[in-house]
Amino acid sequence: MGETEEKPDFVFNRIGRRALGGFYYVGGMTLLLASAVTWTFRGLFTRRVSFRPQALAEQMIRVGVKSLGIVILVQTFIGIIIALQMEPALAEWGQQAMVSNIIGVAGFRMLGPIITAVVLSGFAGASIAAEIGTMVVSEEIEALEAIALNPVRFLVVPRVLATLIMMILLTVVADLMIALGGYVAALTVLGPTVHQGYWDRMSTQLMFSDFYTGLIMSGVFGLLISLIACHEGLQVKGGAEGVGKATTMTVVYSIVAIVMAAVVFTAIFYVFVWN
């Protein structure tokens, strides 16, 4: 086929195929979610299928402990950055004391959850995809099935639950670190107008809904990251190269999914909660 004569319908075909691929992907993820939910409930409520709390604990340590340091570091810096960025603009209106209010709202509603999610998609998501992908390549998944152990129940459920729980816990830490980062910037650089009464202004500004909407979002992010990671891992084909690709795509898809979910939930909360 010639290189220059690309027919227009060929382009549309390609777009169509992309869109179809997207539908299949979302469909596959939905099925995986449904299966994970089913196995979780079976684990909790039937006696024949044990819940395996030990596996859950293992995964929580693996997801949480590795990411904790980075979350603390990154989120403290985020707090410092917002404080330093906002203060000059607010100072023009003589409102530099409002730095604390802005950090509270931005941090608790959005930056805490979303940046923690990005960190976690790099740490937990990528490592889950690599781990499960390697298991696919080395026939371990087939071996699991052959001894009558369901891979979703055995691998996906503990990883999804662990990521969900740790994502929420880490977001609580993240929220506090952003606030603390802002306070550090105020203490060291911005002066007494900002740091005196910093915590009072923040707690008057913040409502409980700022806190829980952030945590709802972080739960959704955790679900997305872990489902994408497991899905990518289970789909690996063709050896080590496939594992590498799954790892990369997990991070890419996770970040896209996180941002899309953030838009949707922000819109929902804007209409129903924050007004």
């Binding site: 044990s50 371990e140 052959a146 001894i147 152990l149």
Partner: protein, 290 residues
């Protein structure tokens, strides 16, 4: 030239149902990999499946362990049609067979002991002490008791296979499947694995299905043999019949000559001439852009 699969030789005396029954199994990936495969395996016998690389042996095995679903055709294990079973019934069947994968397929995040213990912990109500004893018995059987606390990454290829075998027999299966058990092993270790397979088959009466390339090993362990070629069952017959074909002179009969070439590992014969003739000129012309 026609390569009709010969009728499945069932010279098993009993009128008993076969433990494994495959009928007209068809599976297509990019091309047709299994093309109407028929096979019966009877209780307690050792069936060796042979065939060239990529002819579909592992794919056939994956169908037998219900890891793949056929496009059409039937697979019965213990008289139950795998296609009609739901998840729970399938798991009940899975508990009655064990499989040794080509690579061993140990769970890399667990020790050898935990690998063997896993099916026992998940599928029996035995207490930890009993499971511990069972694990050591199974590992002793394959000569791996010293490795109980090692991680799979610390094992050699042969040790991985033996540990995989210990896991496969953890639940005392009625059928054992092996995918190339002696590939990549030295002759002595390979002979040990053969001996192990025969012990399990003969002493415990386990029905055994082995996929292998190693002809020495195949003739050592087989009761009956099956030759798969391009997704079709070329011949299923008792070992003696295959031995006779191997030792005879070329007859001009295409099927037998093909099998003979495979069994002897000759570099010339029907297998290779077929390979050479298929679309060679078209390929060359295609590559030249003509």
């Amino acid at each position: 030239m026609t390569l009709q699969p010969q009728s499945v030789a069932t010279n098993q005396p009993e009128g008993e149902q076969p433990v494994i029954r495959v009928r007209d199994l068809v599976k297509t990936f990019d091309r047709r990999v299994l093309d109407g495969v028929n096979l019966d395996v009877h209780k307690g016998e050792t069936m060796v499946i042979m065939g060239g690389s990529g002819c579909g042996k592992s794919t056939l095995l994956r169908h037998l362990i219900a890891s793949l679903r056929p496009d059409s055709g039937g697979i019965e294990l213990f008289g139950q049609d795998l296609i009609k079973l739901d998840h729970e019934q399938l798991d009940n069947v899975r508990r009655r067979f064990g499989i040794l994968f080509q690579s061993g397929a140990l769970f890399n995040s667990m020790t050898v002991g935990e690998n063997v213990a896993l099916p026992l912990r998940e599928h029996t109500s035995l207490d930890d002490d009993t499971i511990d004893i069972m694990v050591r018995i199974k590992l002793e059987l394959v000569g791996m008791r010293h490795a109980v606390h090692l991680m799979p990454a610390e094992l050699s290829g042969g040790m991985k296979k033996r540990a995989g075998l210990a896991r496969a027999i953890a639940l005392d299966p009625e059928i054992l499947f092996y995918d190339e058990p002696s590939a990549g092993l030295d002759p002595v270790t390979s002979a040990q694995i053969d001996q192990l397979m025969m012990d399990l088959a003969k002493k415990l009466g386990v029905t055994t299905v082995v996929v292998t390339h190693e002809m020495d090993s195949a003739f050592r362990i087989a009761d009956r043999m099956a030759m798969l070629d391009k997704g079709r069952m070329l011949k299923v017959a008792p070992r003696a019949e295959f031995e006779a074909i191997r030792d005879a002179d070329p007859t001009g009969d295409f099927t037998n000559d093909l099998i003979r070439q495979f069994l002897r590992g000759d570099s010339t014969g029907p297998l290779t001439s077929r390979r050479k003739n298929s679309g060679y000129e078209e390929d060359i012309l295609d590559a030249a852009g003509m």
